[in-house]
Amino acid sequence: MVEDVRIYGGWKDELGLKVVPSKKIGKDLYEVFIGPQHPGSGHMRITVRLDGDIIVEADPDIGYVHRTMEKLGEIRGWIKPIPLFERMAIHDACNITMPYVLAVEKLMGVEPPLRAKYLRSLLCEINRIGAHLYGFAIFGVFLGHSTMYMWAMGDREVFIELAEALTGARLTHSYPLPGGARRDIPADFPDMARRAVNYMRKRLKEYEKIFLNNPVIRSRLEGVGVISKGLAAELGIVGPNARASGIGYDVRIVEPYDAYPELDFEVPVFREGDALARTMVRVEEIKQSLRIIEQAVEWLEKNPREPIVDKYLYGKYPPLHKKIMESEGRAKLLPISAAMKVPKGRAIGRAETGRGETIYYVESDGGVNPYRVRIVTASARNAIAFKYVLPGHKIMDLPAIYGSLDYFPPESDR
């Protein structure tokens, strides 16, 4: 029996995998189908079996957005899968494609220039803030707190404007390339970014007052959906959800990529493991992301512009392409990119996306297509939490737990 785990009508075993009811469960359990058309995020279904209003069994039925990314990744060459994989989490676009790009870079043995690394990290952090704010907005809807939805969605637009200025698209940036990035920052970007950072810092204090410290919200989140450290490790929960349970695991520390080794930031960890801690981790992460954006922008402003693609590729650029790179900061692709070949081998690329660690296993047989792309996203690994965390809670705690796990079905279903 675990201490501090609020469970109605029974207790959980040591790890929390199994609910032991205190009384015999009645024969007539209610079976409630939640989704796929429901007020929350929508594109998934949870089948819960209820004894009274206590969840006895939960069965996540996912796959409503399974769009066959792994199969299509095998037939589209090496560059084209980047926009394809981006569709898994379009508000976290740079983060979700980074691991694939890193894996291909490992196979090809190319290293992007430092400026490109900083640019990619900058966009990744902008995306991370966007993803967390989107999570807050949806969480607000779940809890019936529509102010939070409006605020988070409104403030997310600030960071979308930033990303749009950098890449030319609101959400689907298709920004990183193996060995580089696609656009350099426009001249007015550093000022915009600084204003956005200052604004968001002020705003987070107000979020605390209206949402996080709001007694109504706190009483719905505190002690609800507790995932202990052992359970998180057993289920393989990732990202902010694991960090809320006291696991200090972040790919940016474990296997630093891009410009992260040179940036100064912290990885916030909470020990409580409940829904409130999971929410607070995201707030703290936004603060760290703001710090990273400041540093990256300062670096990009201070250092002279250089080509943002790999040296080998830049060496092959015709004069027109070089001129465009200098004047517009736009990296052109070369026709060879459409049919490029990658040396034989197996590589794992991983990155810390907004919702946690995403892993791409890329296998090449030396041809024009990847032989196998295996994608395990953060939401896919978190999906199992529904099955083991929900039982023992009241049905009204389901939205709070669902929202605090920040589960995004398209990312999970691939």
């Binding site: 589209r76 560059i79 084209k80 899968p81 980047i82 926009p83 394809l84 102010t147 637009e157 600030v158 404007e161 749009e164 200025a165 030319g168 698209a169 689907t172 298709s174 656009r183 915009m192 204003r195 956005a196 604004y199 705003r203 107000e206 605390e208 007052k209 209206i210 996080l212 410290n213 709001n214 007694p215 706190r218 200090g248 940016r252 520390i253 630093p256 080794p261 940036l263 100064d264 930031f265 912290e266 990885v267 916030p268 960890v269 909470f270 409580e272 409130l276 607070m280 703290e284 027109l320 392409h321 465009i324 736009r330 990296a331 052109k332 692709l333 070369l334 026709p335 990119s337 459409a338």
Partner: protein, 183 residues
């Protein structure tokens, strides 16, 4: 400086009167924004946002620059861009015609990733900076070679005035007119 893990405590609730003071704080924020609202809603279609120059909107072909290399069609991730063969006058003997291939685009599939624009060796393709055009049937969305060379009609521009959203330290986003009023 290497990144590090920092264990943080949850924010404390304020003392004995937590329910009262936290509720009051939330209410005060509400009142503050009721009295001093920060609105940036765009009253579409009377106003529309004018997007930045580098925005990846509809893709247009400049036929004169096209060298028929088909790189754009090959890089297109969703196979929206296709090559068609059309007769063009022979460069040296004007009475003869030769078959040359040009790209056409299917906006039913285009995902506006901009790879075709970036791969084009002669900059024959370019983006326009608007994106809000809708269609009532699918056939219109397949652009033939003639349509592909013209920038599409932009009904929003005729109906509304352009605005711009500026990032502001105090307001987050601030709506300002994109152009000076004439006269």
């Amino acid at each position: 400086m290497p990144p590090k893990v920092a264990v943080k405590p949850l924010p404390k609730r304020g003392g004995l009167l937590a329910g009262v003071s936290d509720n009051l704080a939330a209410l005060m924020i509400g009142i503050k924004y009721f009295l001093n609202p920060k609105r940036f809603s765009i009253y579409y279609p009377k106003e529309y946002p004018e997007l930045r120059k580098g925005y990846r909107g509809f893709i247009i072909l400049n036929k004169q620059k096209c060298i028929s290399c088909a790189a754009c069609a090959r890089i297109c991730p969703s196979a929206a861009m296709k090559m068609i063969r059309v007769p063009v006058p022979h460069p040296k003997e004007p009475e003869k015609t030769v078959m040359k291939q040009f790209p056409v685009i299917n906006y039913q599939r285009c995902i506006f990733c901009g790879y075709c624009v970036d791969i084009c060796p002669t900059e024959a393709l370019y983006h326009v900076n608007y994106h809000d055009i809708v269609y009532e049937n699918l056939a219109e969305m397949f652009w033939d070679l003639d349509t592909f060379q013209k920038e599409p009609e932009y009904p929003t521009a005729e109906e509304g005035i352009p605005v711009r959203l500026m990032i502001h330290e105090e307001y987050g986003l601030l709506k300002v007119p994109a152009r000076e009023k004439q006269g």
